[in-house]
C-alpha cells in the first residue's frame, strides 16, 4: 500500500506527502541517468579487471580504435556475451601496446644539446 501511517488516510497529511512524492519523482528522473551510467561503469570495470585491464585504459583504447559502443551496450555484452567482451578487451590491449611503442620512439638517444661536442674558444 502506498504511503505509511495516517498519510494514506487523512486528507491534509496526504496532500503534503503526495506533493513531495511528485517533486521527488521529477528530480529522480534526472538522477536516474547518472545512476545508471555509474552502474554500467562499475560493471565494465569489474569485467575488464577480470581480463587484466583497467577501466580508463579499456575505454580510451576502444575509442582510439574507432569503436563507438556506449557503456550500456558494453555492460550488456560483458554480462551476456563473455567471448565478445574478451575480444574487445584484447583489441584494447593491443591498441594500448601500439600506443606505447609509438610514444616511446626508436629507443635511440636524441641528437640534443648534451651529446653535441661543445667547442670553447
Amino acid at each position: 500500500q502506498h504511503f505509511r501511517g495516517r498519510k494514506n488516510r487523512c486528507y491534509k497529511l496526504a496532500v503534503r506527502s503526495v506533493r513531495r512524492a511528485f517533486v521527488k519523482s521529477t528530480k529522480a528522473r534526472r538522477e536516474k541517468k547518472r545512476i545508471f551510467r555509474a552502474l554500467w561503469i562499475t560493471r565494465i570495470e569489474a569485467a575488464s579487471l577480470e581480463h587484466g585491464l583497467k577501466y580508463p585504459a579499456f575505454i580510451s583504447n576502444l575509442l582510439k580504435s574507432q569503436v563507438e559502443l556506449n557503456r550500456k551496450v558494453i555492460a550488456d555484452l560483458a554480462i551476456y556475451e563473455p567471448k565478445t567482451f574478451k575480444s574487445l578487451a584484447a583489441l584494447a590491449q593491443r591498441r594500448r601496446q601500439e600506443g606505447f611503442l609509438a610514444a616511446l620512439g626508436d629507443g635511440k638517444e636524441p641528437e640534443g644539446i648534451f651529446s653535441r661536442i661543445v667547442h670553447h674558444y
Binding site: 519523482s25 559502443l69 555484452l77 565478445t84
Partner: protein, 155 residues
Amino acid sequence: VAKTSLTSPPWPEVKLPDPAEEAKYHAEVVQKVNKMIATGQYGRLFAVVHFASKQWKITSEDLIMMDNVLEAECGDRIRMEKVLLVGADDFTLIGRPLLGKDLVRVEATVIEKTESWPKINMRFWRRHNYQRKKIIVNPQTVLRINTIEIFPCLS
C-alpha cells in the same frame, strides 16, 4: 656493462608480432569466418544497432520501445542501417564504427504507436507559495525485430 636498476625501463618490454606474419594470420581468419557465414554455421545472431539516438543490443523476435514518433504506419517493414556490432556464438564482426550495408541486414516492423503513461512534472518551493504541476504524455513506438542476416562479403 653491469646491469643496474636503471639499465632497462621499469615497464615490461612488449614486442609486437611481425606485420607480414600477422597479415597472413588475419587473412586466414577472415577466410575461415567467410566460409562459416557462407555455409551458415551460426546459431542465433545478435547485433548492436544505433537507432533513435540510442544503442540497442538486439536479437531476432525482439521488442523495442522508443520514446518518439516514427514516420511509418503500423505494419511497415523497416531496414535498420547503422549497425555497430554483429555476433554469433563463434565469431563477432566489430565495426569501426559502423559495419557495411552489404554485410548485415536488420529488418523490423512497427507494431504499435501509443502514448506513455501520464508522467507528472511538479515543482514546489516551500514557504514561497510556488507550485507548478504539469502532466507529460510522450508518444511511443513499439518495433519488433524480425530478422538479422549476414552475407559473406568480408575481405
